[in-house]
Amino acid sequence: MANTALLNNVTHHQLKVITRFGAEFGDSISSALVFPTEFIELQKEYPILFRQHPETKKYQATVLLGLSQNENLFLNSSAPSGWAAHYIPATVAKGPFLIGMQHQDSGNSNIPVIHIDMDHLKVNNENGYPLFLEHGGNSPYLEYIANVLKTIHQGIAIQDAMFTLFSELDLIEPIDIDIDLHNGEKRRLLGNFTIHEEKLMELGGDQLERLNKLGFLSLAFAVITSMTNIRRLTDIKKSHK
């Protein structure tokens, strides 16, 4: 079980977090969970795919980072952060931090608070960015993390509504991705879903307006556009050879 603690500026005053990405920190992952709140940024770098939970049948978005197990093609030790992309998925960028819910004694509401996994490989007292300033104020890095967690928190809040509407409009289709690795090697990725482009084009004005007013139309297009990034993955893989 993770050794998590509610972050505070007294107990954790000395704490630092390594912001580099690398295989040695467990970053060799071939996909990452993502949220609608980051699709617009993600589409410029990664293929966005949907996965369906085998039991609940609920959809969840992911991005493809590699073409075989434990392969993360974006890890690159010559990049300043160790991750060669302009935008890093929030569930990766958040590092050792988690969102917790804290009950307020004054009422029946819960407010989101920041927790930290003390056993995470990036947490230490010597290297990386400090979480707190000299007198206990929040460091710029912690402010950045708070924004990353907000992206996740708000994404969780809207993703079910988005997938429900996509399903209602019959926009989600299964996709098997065939990859030709130029050296004759072929791969087939199974079990993914994407947005059905033709069906999206055939939607009527009212349906488009509904999608657009909720902010989901641009997300549907982001998913479609993002598929061109598969080519990018094969190109990186080729250049590694």
Partner: protein, 342 residues
Amino acid sequence: MITASTTVITDCTSETLDERILSSKQPVIIKGLVKHWALVEQGRQSDRNAIDYLKSHYNGRPSVACIGSPEIQGRFFYSADGTQLNYQTQQMKIDELLDLIQAGFSEKNPTSYYIASNVIDTHFPGFRRENDIVIPRPEANVAQEDLRVSIWIGNRTTACCHYDASDNLACCVVGKRRFTLFPPDQIANLYPGPLSPTPGGQALSMVDFANPDFSKYPRFAEAITHGQIAELEAGDALYLPSMWWHQVESLNPFNVLVNYWWSNSARYMGSAMNVLYHALLSLRDKPEHERQAWKHIFDYYIFDDPEQAGKHLPDEAHGYLGEIDAAKNKMLRALLLNKLNR
């Protein structure tokens, strides 16, 4: 003990609180102000009727109940060493709490149950259609603090002496209540306890009014000469100006209070307690001569005539010394956030 009693007005039972009472800036009992309320009438029949009436308006949402063992005799307070509280809080349904209170009617010294300051509309929708009064608020250009209307339900309990930063109309709806009141300048004679933890967000007087320890708290004898007692029966209301210290005893086996809290201050201001915490951090432990000088400076800018500091300057040079409008409120907040975050 305290001999003075709070002024009583008997000729005011309208649907709107009289503005003359609000401008008094002194506590006033308004006898029978809410005697026509439906819950007051039910309670006059029996506690059972009052409990059934409350249940009929309850929407089933859980609330937070304070539960004290018989030993504390209803006095919700700090633990002996002042680092904790002497009772438990628990999420529970209000109808279950009403059953527990009712089950204790036959006991001489029952467990103490208290739901304090529960917003009415979130748990008793429709209740205020039959039990409500209008609090007149002055017209204002900027958004003011909201009115907060709460219900307080319990058996024999004592809310120890504290102050609240909002004006208060406390309506005794079922049972009996005794308020022991002190003006704001009595703070030092009341020996406030720790700022945290506290039962309701406010520090409590350390003095046990039922059995004061004058060797430990000698200045309480002085407070007594400034205190007054307000006894409320079902249907009576107490207007209590903000910042007055008050202990509230609920005297019957079943008691319900409905109270209105409001402050005619702009919402952007937030709690003045933030200023006190900031002063504890940044002012209290400065060298003595600096601290004393700051007292003059605060008098000049804050506590004396608020216009004094800008009066001799051209309008366009007033800056923060002039009226705090929406833009200046935001700029000041940003300035503080930036300066504090270090």
